[in-house]
């Protein structure tokens, strides 16, 4: 039997949702018929609106999809102005204030506390400035990700930006691909660093060389000069629900101009063969499990493309460093060379959240020192591009960069956190503010070995894994436990994950550490690492030498002077930082103006 969600989607979905959304916005939240709320909230996701959790009735998270994380000159200012004007609600965050923007792990932007009545005005402003929320959530093509500095990066094999732009044009608002069985996440990377994180997406294009038009295959020696640069294709990655998968190699190479055909073919294959009866089994990763990569390739060839597919070309995976746990350029923070002789400067945004004032100031700085363009990375950070050499020193001296540093402490730099109980219905624990407190405490109290300047800690509030915990040095995931008999928030601890040539999911070695003992546990772990590591050994390589029990023994939870004010069940509050935080004190649904 099709699910409720499938029934609702078959009635109204895609572009046509917009008219009704605007009618409801005009007539007020209460105009959504009582018995259609579930259906409409599900559909609104397609337009980037996700109803916030229980206790926050009538408020929405709004996701703006910025393809490849590219914000053209002026667009960051638009985001800052919208955040400042509309992303304010009854809850004020003690660290980030009353209005802020979240830069996400898929190079998008999230705003909170959005009221339905403001949506038409926000859409108008976004669209006037070339931005959109279309398909930012819901069962369709999501924001396309990649190396954010595509087209500029000195390390580039091929410029993926024109390909990404074309995919975005083709598949946003495309009725044939609007209603898929589940979300469809695509990554296109043209650089040799792996920063598009293709391995954890439903569909990944990664750079590869191939000798085409006769001759021997691309892997023969000496043929390099005739090789064409294109993309190898992988399918079926994703991290959610205790079922993490890396995308599987389907042995296909495509030239850049055929990427839309192959991407569209695979999206149509997913549309037609994906599971619509069981949403838990719907992601394409499960179809790849069931069929195997060969059958995916055969079906694509026979039913969805009208040209002969090439076999995979020679990839550059051995050069991947992004989030790989070792080597240079584990992230894009700091000053890097552009192809044109200018620089891009990656700035650390702790847990991806930036106050609206700071967003506006950053937009000013990007205009003053660069071209006005800003880009977003999958580590929740921002990159200011096009900074000429002679403007660099002055830019780096700007006071704003004290907070958003190009050379942060490893614990600040490595922190990624999802939305958590502040707004998310699925969450088991508080995340962003907690991770900020963790990072500050670790910075003040823990020393990494001198040669280790990166240490990635990712915190997700539940198994949906929005913070991509399984691909970090230390993975933290929301749980509960009892401490002195009382229920408290806790975290499972995983170790040794990362991407790179041979990606590896973290192993969950220690379960349910009460949150106030987590910083102590990390301090003890780092101490053991410093003492026991081989000369120059990375944390990931260190972890790989031990079995799970040995690692569990190295974690050693311990109370320290770290204090955690959010230890009780933050989900029982309407907003964990409100003075009167009880559910009964929840604000009323926003009135219509």
């Amino acid at each position: 039997m099709p699910t409720d969600v499938e029934n609702w989607k078959s009635e109204v979905y895609g572009n046509e949702i917009r008219d009704r959304l605007f009618e409801f916005a005009e007539e007020g939240f209460d105009s959504i018929p009582d018995d259609e709320r579930d259906a409409w909230f599900e559909r609104f996701k397609w337009w980037g609106l996700y109803h916030q959790r229980n206790g926050q009735e009538g408020y929405f998270m709004m996701r703006i999809g910025t393809p490849n994380g590219v914000l053209e000159p002026g667009q960051l200012r638009t985001v800052g102005e919208i955040a400042d004007e509309y992303a304010r609600g009854p809850g004020v965050n003690p660290i980030f204030g009353g209005a802020y923007a979240d830069f996400t792990t898929r190079q998008s932007i999230q705003l909170h506390w959005i009221e339905l009545s403001d949506v038409p005005a926000i859409f108008e402003k976004l669209e006037e400035n070339g931005l959109s929320t279309q398909q930012a959530c819901g069962d369709s093509w999501r924001n396309i990700v990649g190396n954010p500095v595509a087209g500029k990066d000195g390390q580039e094999v091929i410029d993926a930006w024109p390909v990404i732009s074309e995919l975005n044009e083709t598949f946003k608002g495309n009725d044939d691909h609007a209603n898929l069985p589940r979300k469809w996440k695509v990554s296109v990377t043209g650089s040799a660093d792996g920063s598009g994180q293709g391995d954890i997406n439903d569909l990944a294009f990664e750079p590869a060389y191939k000798a085409v038009g006769g001759g021997s295959g691309g892997d023969g020696a000496g043929g390099e000069t005739e090789d064409t640069v294109g993309f190898n294709v992988r399918v079926g990655g994703g991290l959610a629900r205790n079922e993490p998968r890396f995308a599987r190699d389907i042995d296909v190479w495509v030239p850049p101009d055929r990427v839309p055909d192959v991407a569209g073919g695979l999206s149509a294959l997913f549309r037609d063969y994906g599971d619509r009866e069981d949403r838990y089994n719907a992601r394409v990763k499960f179809l790849v499990d069931e069929w195997g990569a060969d059958e995916v390739r055969e079906t694509l060839q026979e039913e969805y493309v009208d040209f002969e597919l090439e076999t995979a070309g020679r990839d550059v995976r051995e050069e991947y460093t992004y989030n790989a746990g070792e080597g240079e350029r584990n992230d894009l923070i700091g000053v890097h060379d552009q192809k044109n002789g200018e620089n891009f400067v990656g700035l650390n945004v702790l847990v991806g959240r930036m106050g609206a004032d700071d967003v506006l100031e950053l937009a000013d700085l990007a205009e003053e020192y660069g071209s006005g363009e800003v880009r977003l990375s999958q580590r929740q950070n921002v990159v200011v591009t096009d900074v000429p050499d002679d403007a660099l020193d002055e830019f780096l001296d700007e006071p704003l960069l004290d907070h958003y540093s190009p050379s942060p402490s490893p614990f600040m730099r490595g922190s990624v956190a999802c939305t958590g109980t502040e707004f998310c219905s699925l969450s088991i624990v508080e995340t962003k503010n907690r991770q900020v407190r963790f990072a500050r405490w670790l910075k003040a109290n823990v020393d990494l070995p001198d040669d280790v300047d990166e240490f990635h800690i990712h915190l997700s509030g539940c198994t949906a894994s929005c913070a991509q915990p399984q691909i970090a040095d230390v993975s933290l995931r929301g749980m509960k436990t009892r401490k002195d008999g009382d229920p408290v928030e806790a975290l499972d601890v995983g170790l040794g994950g990362g991407l790179g040539e041979d990606p590896q999911f973290a192993r969950w070695v220690t379960q349910r550490v009460p949150v106030d003992e987590v910083p102590g546990a990390l301090a003890n772990l780092v101490e053991s690492f410093a003492a026991e590591r081989d000369e120059g050994e990375s944390f990931r390589a260190f972890v790989a030498r031990y079995d799970d029990d040995e690692l569990d023994a190295l974690v050693e939870p311990e109370e320290t002077d770290y204090e955690d004010p959010m230890m009780h069940n933050t989900k029982r509050t309407w907003y964990p930082y409100a003075e009167d935080d009880a559910m009964e004190d929840a604000p009323p649904t926003p009135a219509d103006d």
């Binding site: 949403r279 838990y280 219905s425 699925l426 088991i428 009892r482």
Partner: protein, 101 residues
């Protein structure tokens, strides 16, 4: 009167007549020998799998983990509340819950 019962947002909550009524992240005490060997399972509810109604009693099957022993699994049908005249009342969350069928 029919009651609309749904598991929404990937198992994050139970909707009763288009209102959010039961949510994940609670700790439930369960008499559930099929889940683990603890005298009482101390279950963190991570996900709702399905919802149904038996007479006026709303029941769910939930995925979660016993925080006492670490066992994970999906429960049988556990009562979570009652619907009368279209109104849902949640059962006392601190009470021990038992599989009903």
């Amino acid at each position: 009167m029919t009651t609309r019962l749904r598991v929404l947002d990937d198992g994050a909550w139970i909707s009763v007549n288009d209102g959010r009524e039961v949510r994940v992240s609670e700790l439930w005490r369960l008499d559930a020998p099929e889940l683990c060997e603890c005298a009482l399972t101390d279950l963190v509810v991570e996900n709702f799998q399905s919802v149904g109604v038996d007479g006026s009693t709303v029941e769910v099957r939930a995925y979660g983990q016993c925080i006492a022993c670490g066992a994970t699994g999906t429960t049988g049908w556990i009562p979570v509340g009652r619907v009368r005249g279209g109104e849902f009342t949640e059962l006392d969350r601190s009470a021990v819950r038992r599989v009903r069928r």
